[in-house]
Structure formats: structure tokens, C-alpha cells
Symmetry: C2
Subunit: 467 residues, 2 copies
Amino acid sequence: MNEPLRRPLPDAVERVKSALAARFGNKVSTAEAVRKQHANTTTWLPNEAPDAVVYAASTEDVQDTVRICAEHKMPVIPFGTGTSLEGHVNAPFGGVSIDLMEMNRVLAVHAEDLDCVIEPGVTRKKLNEHLRDQGLFFPIDPGADASLGGMTATRASGTNAVRYGTMKDNVLSLKAVLVNGEVLTTARRAKKSSAGYDLTRLFVGSEGTFGVITEITLRLAGIPEAISAGICPFPSVEAACKATIATIQSGIPVARIELLDALQVRASNLYSKLSLKETPTLFLEFHGSEAGVAEQAERFGEIAADLGGGPFEWTTKAEDRTKLWQARHDAYWAVINMRKGCQAFATDVCVPISKLAECVTATQADIEKFKLVAPIVGHVGDGNFHVSVLLDMSDADEVARARKFNERLVERSLSLDGTCTGEHGVGEGKIRYLEAEHGKTGLEVMRNLKRALDPDNIMNPGKIFAL
Amino acid sequence: MNEPLRRPLPDAVERVKSALAARFGNKVSTAEAVRKQHANTTTWLPNEAPDAVVYAASTEDVQDTVRICAEHKMPVIPFGTGTSLEGHVNAPFGGVSIDLMEMNRVLAVHAEDLDCVIEPGVTRKKLNEHLRDQGLFFPIDPGADASLGGMTATRASGTNAVRYGTMKDNVLSLKAVLVNGEVLTTARRAKKSSAGYDLTRLFVGSEGTFGVITEITLRLAGIPEAISAGICPFPSVEAACKATIATIQSGIPVARIELLDALQVRASNLYSKLSLKETPTLFLEFHGSEAGVAEQAERFGEIAADLGGGPFEWTTKAEDRTKLWQARHDAYWAVINMRKGCQAFATDVCVPISKLAECVTATQADIEKFKLVAPIVGHVGDGNFHVSVLLDMSDADEVARARKFNERLVERSLSLDGTCTGEHGVGEGKIRYLEAEHGKTGLEVMRNLKRALDPDNIMNPGKIFAL
């Protein structure tokens, strides 16, 4: 698509390095270890290091870096915690990685408005620690302790999204440095607006391809008066999915509803020292008043029993709830633990919930067909699930089978009116599926938008769009 | 900004009319009465009629109309029920109005997924009649029985938004005919996705300036098992606003929380034959289980009492609830009724809820200062309120005072980090405030997006952007 889709010429790289050194001194690094550490770290994709890394401490630092890069048509890649899963922080054409983790201040908390203003390097755990005394929390929880800038850029979500929405629903406004070095503010702090185009949502999920996010206004929630959580086994994936649909249809405001397939339960039993029945299982959480969470849990128990599930055991005790969700969060490590020396390759599709049982069941058959070891966990209230494919990366045949399996998973999701990624984003890993998902027209509209805001294609090039 | 910002030349108009007549026969009209009826009808802005009106019955009709217009750089203006309030359907440069009210089919209801697929001419009341048997409803309620295409295009919201969100939160996907005649599908039917730019949200609220919406996939909600509603008087606007803040902070999932100021209560008493105390009053509604709505109402009653409000009288009886909300919905007619022969000019601002009492109180002082008769109603859970200024349109001085008052209201909202329009949209009426709200950079980004998708500026020109 846009230029440049090649590395800048070596002398341009050198000029940028000199200009950055003059401006930033020891806050810019070209050391190989630093560069590699800033190319993506937790995915199966190869590491593509940038030419330099700038540690930005302010919006002005970001503006100056972008201006220097733009002058020489040098790529700019924003970097947070490096926990993205599809190669978003790779530098396929070189360029300058802007490390935003020093921009980690909570700038304001407006308790009456249930919002806060933060810098992009604040992580979700740090924000929640900051908020706890005020009885507030930020509900989006993708598992990793990601930076909120990165979560905004990838439109992240996770276990709480069924009740609290995704980043698209929880970013009120943001500031971003555009390719011309100007700072865009996407919206006011009002809870809603009809004043022109929704620039906030345009930037949420744009993966750094429009600009570098330097400030975010987030919606917050009150810490619920009471929380109940529990575990419910089911005879089949289908029964668990039907129970999920019935729960949501009946208006129970479930806060978390997570599916673990039988293999994932086995892995979690081993790793987290649980003794759950090895069958498809839902982990649930309810938020509300004391009476409310009890009522929600009881009503869910009845739904589960009607579908052959149960017994549904639930608790409001904090230590038991913590153990339960620790096991869910450790699902990834439980999987890795199943097969020593292996890497887990995490997939991510999302389908209409009515198609979920069909999609998961067909996927399990495919796992068998391709002779893979691959547990499934799902944010099933949203129709979103992940397969963690355990890979011996030195086994080329197994890696090839996993790729083919992933391709078929995406095709299956698309054929069921689903998406190729529910929450991980496109990055480099899902580029090839975008046209199948959005059609030529949809992709061309996206490209037109990109060209409009970044004509020289220097903002995180090689992501989202096909080369 | 983009071309053309002048009327097409007369011979272009004639060529378009001939081409439309050849294609559409008696489904295109150039009669003056029809053209005037399709320029905006319910606002204080002057009527600017299009050159022709096409009654589209299908996406193909829309495509052909857009292609014919594009060939001659003739403006295209989508039309629904004509209930928009800021001149969105006016044709300041002439052009062709596409009446979409014959595209009024509900194409699918997916009860398990809580969504439906509709054509843009379906109105919200018609949709809710269609859904009732299935225990589902579409919660967004702007008051008028607007078309869902229009509600999508203006990012409408209304009384239920505090719980169910606005159109931005309830449109899953849409199809739109672009200026090149192609049909864009903005997203799959999955509940969430991170697959590239959020084209859905880009089109929601774009007021017809990117394309003509021809199909919408909407999120639905289950009809609550129980509903309670009630009325609570307060000693002051400030106390009512504080009660609203405390209600939301404490996690009560209030479905509606509407402020009527003392003057609006008087108007509603007269019109709807109520006998409410003429003081700032909240109208509320709670959705949930039988036990849940009782608990919510009781907790709200305690909060209100703590702030000097009450007594809070509530009911679950359907007939009493209907009477209550009928009075709220009739607020506009109640206002008109206060001063015969007058027109009500509806304003619309939205501020962070912590600033709401300050903004409403200062606005009341301004109403007095400008010697206007102007009741206030507000979707206060969102910080959004409207002033209905009663105007004798033949009194030039009064009209001038109302305009000045509105300008100051917008400035006040912006100074409190609010927006110039919470839900009515920009249309023609709010163009002048966009730069103050979004800054030069924000407005330039919006213009770049517009240029990218509509380089000849024929899709509803003269809206959103300054001339």
C-alpha cells in the first residue's frame, strides 16, 4: 500500500540516529539487546528489531521523535510492555521504537464522573492499585499486565468484557501525536457526544498506524459491593454454550463467564493443584449487591441444571475467588507446563454466540485431525475463544500443521459470520485474513483512511495491511 | 473544504433529473411540496429543499441514485423520518434526497445472539412491536419515533442511554453505499473484534457524509423480568444532580434517570394533568428481577432522602409507569402548550456529570438574564440536558436573544470539558462550534477523513463542517 514498504536508506538511518542522539542523549539506545527486546517478545513470529529505541518521558519527547523520523521517512513503532501476541511491536522495515513505559503517571481521577486520565505506560494492575482506595476499578482484564496504551491500541478486552465491554467501550477520549508532530485530542470528557466523527473509536484498535497515543481518559466502575464466583462442570461444550446463551438472554448481568475445555481443565488441575472433573467447565463471576449476587448465582445454577450441568458451586469468600481466577489466569502457564520445552501459540477468533458450540466442537475435531495438543479457553459470553497450540518450534512439520490449523480456524470463524481476531488484533499475524473478513471494499476504505492520516506510511508500517 | 460548495450547474441538475426519471419513473419526484417536505421539518433552521426526491426500495436503488449523482457531482442527502433537530436533511446546495422509508423490513432476528438485522427505514417503535413476542427490545429511545437509519447516522441516544448506551454501543455492523456506488460492510456479526479499523463507529454519527446506510445490525436486550419506576422531588437542581451521581457511583444499574426543572414540572402538570410539586424532580426507572428492582428503588430512595429529596414514590404497575413516561415524552408538547403560537427551539449539551449542577444552574440564570421562557429536561445520568426555548419566531429580538443564549450555553459546556451536542448531532446548526470543541487539529483530521472517503464532497455536503 503506502510508501515506504522498504527499509529507509542507510544514510537516512544514520541521520535519524544522530538527530535522536543530539536530542535525547542517553535516552536513545541502539544496542542490539535493547533493540531486540523491543521487537515482539511473546509471539511465535520472528523478532524484527528496530534501528533505535527512544525512552520517551513526555508528549514533547514523542513529538520530537516523530518529527525527526517523519523528516527522514523513518518508521515509528510505539512500545509498551511487549505482551501483544501478533507482532504489533515488530519493526519489519526498521525504524525507531518509542518505549512509553516511563510515561506512567495517573494524571487525574474524577471519582464523581467515574473516569481517570492516564499516560500510556500505566499498566492495568498499577492503575487498579492506584484506584482501590477510592472504591473504583478499571474492569478490562486481558490477562497480561499490559500497558493501557497498548490495550487501547489493540482494542483489548478479556474476561470482564461480557459485562463491562472492551477498550472501545471504556476509552472516553485520548491524545495522540500525529505524523506531523501535532497532538490530536479525540474528544471531550463528556460521557457521550454527537459532535462529528468518532475519532476516539478510530484510534482505539488502530495499532499505532495513525499516531502515538500519549494520554488516555478511561471510564471506571465502582468496586461492587459483593462478588460471587463459582465453577460449573458440563457434559459437553454444547451444554456449556447453551447455558451461557440462556444466562445472557435471561438478563443475568454476569461479570465473567469463561469456558475451559476438558483438556484445559486437566492442564489446570495439574498446574494449579485443583481436582476438577475433567469435562467442559464454566468459571463464573457475578457483581452486585449481597442479595443480587446470591440471586444471580442461584438463577445460573438453575439454568445449568436444566442443561445437565452442575453441581454449581459458588462462593463469596475472597480467598476462594482469588484461587479460582488465579487458576484461570494461569491457564497459559498450565498449558506450557503440559509439554516441557514447548511454546504455546495463542489463536483468537470470535463468532456470534449462537455459533459458538459449533465452532468450538469443529475446532476440537480439527485439533485431533492435525494431531496437535491444544487446550481451549473462551470468553464465551462474547463468543470469543482461544486455542493454545503447544508447539515444539524445532519440529517444522508440527509448526506447519499448527499454521494450517490456525488458517482453518479463521476460515471457520469467518464462515460463521465471525471475525479473525476478537481481541488480539491484526499486527503482522492476521494480515492475510483481512480481505476475507472485510472484502475488497472494506479493506480499501481502511487503506484510504490510513493514507489520509499517514500518507508516507511511517506510523507502524507493515501492520494491519497486506504488503 | 471539499468541492463542490456551490450548487451544481443547472444543466447538471437537469441531466440528473432525466437520468433519475429514466431509471425510477414515478419513484422520483420534483414536486415542490415533496421537495420541501424532505428538507428539514422540525427545526428552527430555514427549509432548504433538494432538487429531487428518490423513493428507494432497495440497496440497488440507492446505488443507482448515488452513481447518477456522483457522475454529475450532485449532492446526495439521505432522508428518514425528518425528525432530526439540526438541519441534517436540508439541501443547502440542492441535490437529491433519498427517502429510505420504503426500506423498512426487519431482515432477521437472532434471538440467541441478541441482535437483529434491519433496513434503515424501520422506526424504533416498529422494531419494538416486531420484537415483543420474542421477549426482546431495542432500548435506545430518543423520544421521536425516528428511523433507525437516522438514529445511526446521528449517534442518537435518549432516556435509556445511561444503562444501555447510545447508538455507538448498539450498532454491531452496518452496510452503506459509498460515493463510488460500492456497498461497504463495516463488520461481522461477532459481538467484538480487533480486526482493523472500527468502520462501524466511523459511520455511526457521520450524518450521511460518508455514504448512505442501507442495512444495520443492532444489539438487542431482553425485556426485563420486572420494571419499577418512580418520581422524586428535590429541593434544588444541585441536590438532584448529587443524588444522580451517588446512584451511579454506588452501582445501582438505573435504566432511566431524567431531570425536569421546576418550570418543566409546571408545564407537564398543566399538559399531562399531573399534580407534582413544582420543584426539580427526577423521573427514574429500574430494570431487573422482581427482587432486584425493589432493591434498586429502595436504595435510590435512601440516597435521595440523604440529600433532602423525596418522598420517592415508585411503582411496578404498568399503567402507572406508562403514565409517568408518557408525561416525560410529552415534555416537548407540554412546553409548546405553555405559550400558544410559539415554536420550541431545542438545545443539547453534555458535560461531565460532576459539572452538571453547575452547568444547569448557570444556564437557568442565563434564561432569566435573556428574558426567555425555557424549561430544562435532562438525561442526567449521562450529564446531558436540553433547554426548550419557547420562541415567537416573528419576534426578531427574542430570536436573537435565544441564539445568543444558545451560543453561551455551548461555550459554558465546552468550558466544563463538555460537548456542543450530546445526541442531536451537528447538522447545520452546530457547525460553528466544532473548531472550539475539537481544535484545529481535530477538525483537520475529520476533514482529511471526509476527503479520503468523499473527495468531491457530494455526500450530504454542508453538514458537520464549516463552509
